[in-house]
């Protein structure tokens, strides 16, 4: 904790003679406990959400504490109108208090009430404070749960609480947008003493109705503990300092939507977060902002993370020599990777972070299990023991939301993988997934900026979805069989992600591989001889083979769709409008090559026309090229998406592109009896 240099404070006050500006601002529309009959007048907006948040008002201000510094006080007041039973659940609320060791956030005040209009008379039921239950929510959070009594349709509920916190680095963020309910007024105000400088990080799409900053002068009572040799004393300091105020208001915000093909909606809701950059002792500002150099250094010293990576542990015994006994450098790295992958199962410790070591790598090694972080850190340790350059890489997965990249926020990161340097090439490895191949990362890892944790150069790595491509190639060959049947052979080479999914599905049902594989065959066909190539070679794409028979039934007209159930049945972009960007997990190429003998006794009377379509200028394309020659029909079809991220503005084009593809793929070949 920084101790203020008292004498210098005075100077500071004199220097910063910023005039306090009185700004006429629109006030918050409501106040706790101030309810009138007018508040019960019918809501004119969309009542089908079940509730409308009339106002959600938060503030963070600072007070001097007894540790010679400041604590911050977060106040929240929320008023909600319950429109119908859909939103009754809102009467039960949960809030979270952070704790770390002995230090924890403190709930210093909580009240709530439910108001109903009983024939022109306002009834209220107050929150019974005995009805606030505390529960351990996770390793670092306590949950305070309460429920308001007396809720029914038309009721107005209110609650307000105050949390006091000593965690400078955890200023309460504010979400202006709710995931479920519309909000008429969302407001956040901060008042930060000039001795602390926070950076604001803002995300979202809606505009502020009010966004004002001003400086005021405030006095803070700070108590300092002074330890002399003889006694422990405390002294009170009255610290006057300019205070930076800012107020943000948003009005009439629709709830955020969870849409298809997007990473976490957390990335898009309107929100403000804070990062502590500088603090002053009254004399000089000290840079306390976290940066990756600092963070890397800390992480590498942390016994829950990097401390053991540079040790030469005896508990590994002879394992590395046994496992990596090849002459080839890369092969040895692979051997170590597959050893870790196959001998350590990935588990999640309840209430524990997946990026940290819970016990020790030695324990992980002995019990043959660990969380994602432990397994990949063990992999790094073992690679280093064999002389490889291997470093941890930290990232935030797609479901977890964006990693801000330039500024390290550990809470935002939820995965550790390994970066291996071998033969002038970099490989990213994840040994926590049993069916992953060497160099394979699951879709979720491709979420933008990741960070190599390395003392000398903690580089950022861009794991972008635009940089990876899922390629699927399907080959179909159909020849005449006996008695008016057609015999088909299919070979489908799947992309790396689908191959991984299929291997996982098969792994989950040992002994049932064929049954599982059948589920990946076209639904409308009776398939036989289902096999898979390179099922156990995870670095290769999985190839699915099967045979099928088609019967012409010797009908006068034989109608045949060349995609044998392989085409898209539904537009993947079903919604007809879009709020947020489209984020596909990867770029994509689907190739379909089809060759068919004209059925015996038939002639071709109609084939679909060949076409080529473009998506944007270069964003994607669709080819459908069909030809009839020498008694054969040949079709080559491909669908390409050359990028993975599209703006909401581009949504219609994307949707129409797929509509056109489906339309084309539904066309049929017509054969007539000779």
């Amino acid at each position: 904790m920084l101790i203020l240099k008292v004498r210098k404070i005075l100077t500071l006050i004199i220097l910063c003679t910023v005039t306090k500006c009185a700004i006429a601002q629109e006030k918050s529309p409501v106040k706790f406990g101030k309810i009138s009959l007018d508040d019960f007048s019918p809501y004119t907006g969309d009542t089908s959400y079940g509730a409308v948040i009339i106002a959600d008002i938060g503030s963070t201000s600072f007070v001097g504490n007894k540790k010679g510094w400041f604590s911050h006080v977060f106040k929240r007041y929320t008023r909600i109108k319950i429109l119908n039973q859909k939103a009754f659940a809102l009467a039960t609320q949960q809030l979270y208090l952070y704790k770390n060791g002995d230090n924890k956030e403190e709930l210093i005040d909580i009240s709530g009430a439910v108001y109903t209009n009983d024939n022109g008379k306002i009834n209220d039921v107050r929150l019974d404070k005995r009805g606030v239950f505390e529960e351990q929510y996770s390793a670092n959070f306590l949950a305070e749960k309460f429920t308001l009594a007396g809720v029914k349709a038309g009721a107005i509920i209110e609650y307000t609480y105050t949390i006091k916190s000593d965690f400078d680095f955890r200023l309460h963020p504010w979400e202006f947008q709710n995931m479920q309910y519309p909000c008429l007024w969302s407001e956040y105000q901060v008042a930060i003493p000039g001795l602390m400088v926070y950076a604001f990080a803002r995300q979202g799409f809606n505009n502020f109705y009010i966004n004002k900053a001003w400086v005021s002068h405030e006095n803070y009572l700070v108590t300092e503990q002074t330890n002399s040799n003889y006694a422990s004393n405390s002294r009170d300091l009255n610290v006057g300092t300019p205070t930076n105020n800012q107020r943000w208001v948003m009005k009439d915000i629709k709830p955020a939507r969870i849409e298809s093909h997007m990473s976490s909606p957390k990335n898009y809701i309107d929100k403000i977060e804070f990062q502590l950059n500088k603090v002053s002792d009254g004399e000089t500002f000290k840079d306390v902002a976290n940066n990756w150099d600092k963070m890397s250094e800390e992480l590498l010293k942390d016994k829950d993370f990097g401390e053991s990576l540079n040790e030469t542990p005896d508990w590994l015994g002879n394992t590395i020599n046994k496992v990596a006994a090849d002459n080839d450098e890369l092969q040895n790295a692979k051997n170590i990777y597959y050893y870790v992958r196959d001998n350590f199962i990935c588990i999640h410790y309840p209430n524990y972070n997946d990026i940290n070591i819970k016990t020790s790598l030695e324990d992980v090694f002995k019990k043959h299990s660990g969380n994602e972080g432990e397994i990949n850190l063990l992999l790094i340790l073992m690679l280093r023991q064999k002389g490889y350059t291997a470093d941890p890489v930290m990232l935030s997965t797609r479901e977890n939301g964006f990693n801000p990249g330039s500024y390290p926020i550990l809470d935002r990161l939820n995965k550790v993988i390994c970066k291996l340097q071998s033969g002038g090439k970099a490989y990213f490895l994840d040994a926590s997934k049993r069916h992953a191949g060497f160099g394979f990362l699951t879709e979720g890892c491709y979420n933008g900026v990741a960070r190599v944790i390395n003392a000398s150069h903690p580089d950022s790595v861009n794991l972008s979805t635009d940089s990876i491509k899922e390629t699927k190639v399907v080959l179909i060959n159909i020849i005449n069989g006996e008695n008016g049947t057609l015999d088909g052979t299919a070979g489908e080479t799947h992309g790396i992600f689908q191959s991984f999914n299929m291997r996982e599905a098969i792994g989950a049902q040992p002994g049932n591989a064929v049954k599982v594989l059948k589920e990946y065959c076209p639904a409308g066909l009776q398939v036989t001889d289902v096999t898979a190539d390179s099922l156990t070679q995870p670095e290769l794409p999985l190839k699915l083979n099967y045979n099928f028979t088609i019967n012409t039934n010797k009908e006068e007209n034989f109608y045949f769709n060349p995609f044998i159930g392989q085409f898209l049945e539904k537009n993947p972009f079903s919604a007809n409008e879009r709020m947020f960007p489209v984020q596909m997990p990867y770029c994509m190429q689907n190739v379909y090559i089809f060759n068919m003998e004209v059925p015996e006794g038939y002639k071709v009377v109609e084939v679909p026309k060949s076409i080529r379509l473009k998506l944007g200028e270069t964003d994607g394309g669709f080819d459908y090229l069909i030809a009839v020659a020498n008694g054969h029909i040949q079709l080559q079809c491909s669908i390409r998406l050359n990028k993975a991220n599209f703006d909401p503005d581009f949504y219609d084009a994307l949707r129409n592109f797929y509509a056109d593809i489906i339309k084309k793929q539904s066309e049929q070949i017509v054969f007539k009896k000779l």
């Binding site: 039960t92 429920t147 199962i345 588990i347 639904a523 109608y559 679909p608 066309e667």
Partner: protein, 634 residues
């Protein structure tokens, strides 16, 4: 020296060998076949000291053969006011039987069972997962508990799930000599060996070497497929309450006693009841009015504290707080009815669409939910009190088609809840649609849902916002690309509630135009997805718990100038599983397509399986059949 050392090493290896616990090599091949887990030994010794006190010793030694069995490598156990966890320990062995790790109670993580709907519960659980990385491995967990208050003894289900083989499973119950233990052996479970020693009676069930079984899709519930034993006390005691479970009547009496005196309403609510109902003469209307009042003024919250797991919060609590759990809300409803001079009852029931029928010849707690009912002269009005939107009298798939225990002053007796057959669960749809020259579809749908088919649209009305509903409608239909631009829902409440839905849908290129031909599937909106696998010979019955009827009639207009080239044949199939009928009539540019599909509830033997497969394959195909039109030349 050297020799001595050698000797020691030799000894050590012998000791190692004899210390090996449950090596995998000792498992019989018959048990390994297709299994994911082998129960090496599972043992439960339950010693009843008195009707309210017992001790329990449990041991579970499981060998996990592969990753699909991984979830059995962990252990979790709960505790609350009834159960004191004295001791839990676990040991992990590798395939050879070498001990890898040993854990104690303090190493386990501790959690509340609380979920989103739970405000407070005093039940917590401890868990631990070895999650060893090298298959196969064996875990051995032991637990000792003190039981304070016995409401159930726990059934014996030696084979707890698909894919689990059992080397040995034992269940031992020790009782005082005069204690009346009740049990019922189900599905061919063995009878216990009963011995008496020093004033105690010992009941022992034991099975050995049972290969893994696999439940198939649409098979009856697991408990209807495997042997198990229902076990229950007669006289029991918990937290100062005493009861007798030996008949439904006496068990009902116990629950009735817990309700005693808990139906007192505050004066303002009493007044309200009279205000609402005194002017009504029809008793049904009185019930509906009070049910509506209850729905509008309460909500569901789960609170499970001590005996509160059984005894409801009283009517006054619900009246003032406006919330309660299922038993508290049902009790409140009965109290409201009583004030209006109508006698209602709480009914203990199993809630859930996937239910095991109540074993009527064995009275014990086979339930998880409470509803209210009002027996009338001719029929009974059933009331689900945890819903703010359900129709009075409608039980639906959550509590319909089953037996339940009605509680009254004489005790309790089993009653049947309303039965919803394929006839009641009916969806009738009328479609007026046109297809233009490019194949674009424009359709108006009017659909009437009744019975259990009403449950989904009911949720669309009452549980989600219009925006979410719109998004749902625009993703759920089986059309290539489409837009639902108008949707409207109305519910007609009643004993058999009904939702009328009206939709307007456009779908570009619904019909496929290739050159001069138009391909059109006239069954626009009801294509069956149900298919059954024929990969292996069917072993178990197929069961459908609810029947449904779907009636569709589609009137389609197509562009002028086309003549039919190929028209699917009309189909009419009647089987023991149901009926299916599809007709197509073409008259110039209008097409009329009718579809009737009735799937009946029932349990069908494996011998019928191939017929069932064929029935559903025929429907799958017919539902997707296409009419081919050709453009007239010139």
């Amino acid at each position: 020296m050297c020799r001595r050392l050698l000797m020691l090493t030799f000894l050590a290896s012998v000791v190692m060998y004899t210390n090996a616990q449950y090596p995998v090599a000792l498992i019989a091949d018959s048990l390994l076949k297709n299994a994911r887990v082998v129960v090496r030994l599972q043992e439960r010794i339950y010693e009843i000291k008195s009707p309210g006190k017992a001790t329990e010793h449990e041991r579970s030694v499981f060998t996990i053969l592969n990753e699909s069995g991984a979830s059995f490598g962990g252990y979790s156990t709960y505790y609350n006011k009834f159960v004191d966890l004295n001791n839990v320990s676990g040991t992990l062995y590798d395939a050879s039987g070498k001990e890898i790790k040993h854990i104690k109670k303090k190493d386990m993580s501790d959690h509340s069972v609380s979920d989103e709907e739970t405000l407070m519960t005093d039940t917590r659980y401890k868990e631990y997962d070895f999650g060893y990385g090298v298959y196969p491995y064996t875990v051995d967990f032991e637990e000792d508990d003190d039981i304070n208050g016995i409401l159930e003894l726990g059934d014996w289900l030696p084979q707890q799930a698909s894919g689990i083989a059992v080397q040995e499973n034992r269940y031992v119950i020790i009782t005082p000599a005069d204690y009346v233990l009740r049990y019922k052996c189900m599905n061919g479970a063995p009878a216990p060996v009963i011995t008496e020693q020093s004033g105690k009676k010992v009941y022992t069930w034991d099975v050995k070497n049972v290969p893994a079984k696999f439940r198939e899709d649409n098979a009856p519930s697991w408990r209807q497929l495997v042997p198990y034993v229902m076990v229950s006390p007669s006289l029991f005691e918990a937290q100062g309450y005493k009861g007798d479970m030996s008949s439904w009547q006496t068990y009902g009496k116990f629950i009735y006693d817990l309700l005693q005196g808990r139906d007192v309403l505050p004066d303002d609510i009493k007044k309200k009841v009279h205000e609402l109902t005194d002017g009504i003469t029809d008793p049904y209307q009185k019930i509906y009015t009070l049910y509506d009042f209850m729905q509008k003024n309460t909500r569901y919250i789960s609170i499970q504290l001590g005996i509160g797991g059984l005894q409801p919060f009283d009517a006054n609590f619900v009246a003032t707080k406006h919330y309660g759990d299922c038993k508290a809300l049902s009790n409140y409803m009965v109290a409201l009815l009583k004030e209006a001079g109508i006698k209602g009852n709480s009914v203990v029931i199993f809630g859930g669409r996937d239910f095991v029928p109540v074993e009527e010849n064995f009275s014990n707690d086979q339930f998880n939910h409470v509803v209210a009912c009002v027996p009338m002269q001719k029929d009974t009005v059933w009331l689900e009190c945890t819903s703010q939107t359900e129709s009075p009298g409608f039980m639906g798939s959550f509590t319909g088609n089953r037996k339940a225990l009605l509680i009254d002053e004489t005790g309790g007796y089993l009653v049947s809840t309303p039965v919803y057959t394929a006839h009641e669960n009916q969806q009738v749809r009328n479609v007026q649609a046109t297809i233009d020259a490019s194949g674009n579809l424009d359709a108006n749908l009017i659909t009437c849902y009744k019975g259990t088919t009403e449950e989904l649209p009911h949720a669309l009305i009452y549980e989600i916002s219009k925006e979410d509903r719109q998004r749902y409608l625009n993703s759920v239909l089986n059309l290539p690309t489409y837009q639902v631009d108008k949707s409207d829902y109305k519910e007609i409440k009643g004993r058999l509630p009904q939702v009328n839905e009206s939709l307007h849908i456009t779908s570009p290129a619904y019909a496929s135009v290739t050159g001069k031909r138009l391909f059109l599937s006239p069954n626009l909106f009801n294509k069956s997805q149900q298919r059954f696998s024929i990969d292996s010979v069917r072993k178990y019955d197929v069961e459908f718990k609810f029947g449904n009827t779907y009636i569709d009639s589609v009137n389609l207009q197509i562009p002028i100038g086309y003549t039919p080239e190929a028209v699917p044949k009309n189909i009419d199939i009647t089987t023991k599983f149901g009926k299916y009928k599809m007709t197509i009539q073409i008259d110039g540019t209008s097409i009329k397509c009718t579809r009737y599909f009735e799937s009946d509830a029932g349990r069908f033997s494996p011998a019928d399986y191939l017929d069932l497969v064929k029935f559903y394959e025929d429907i799958y195909k017919a539902d997707r059949s296409k009419i081919v039109f050709v453009k007239k030349e010139g």
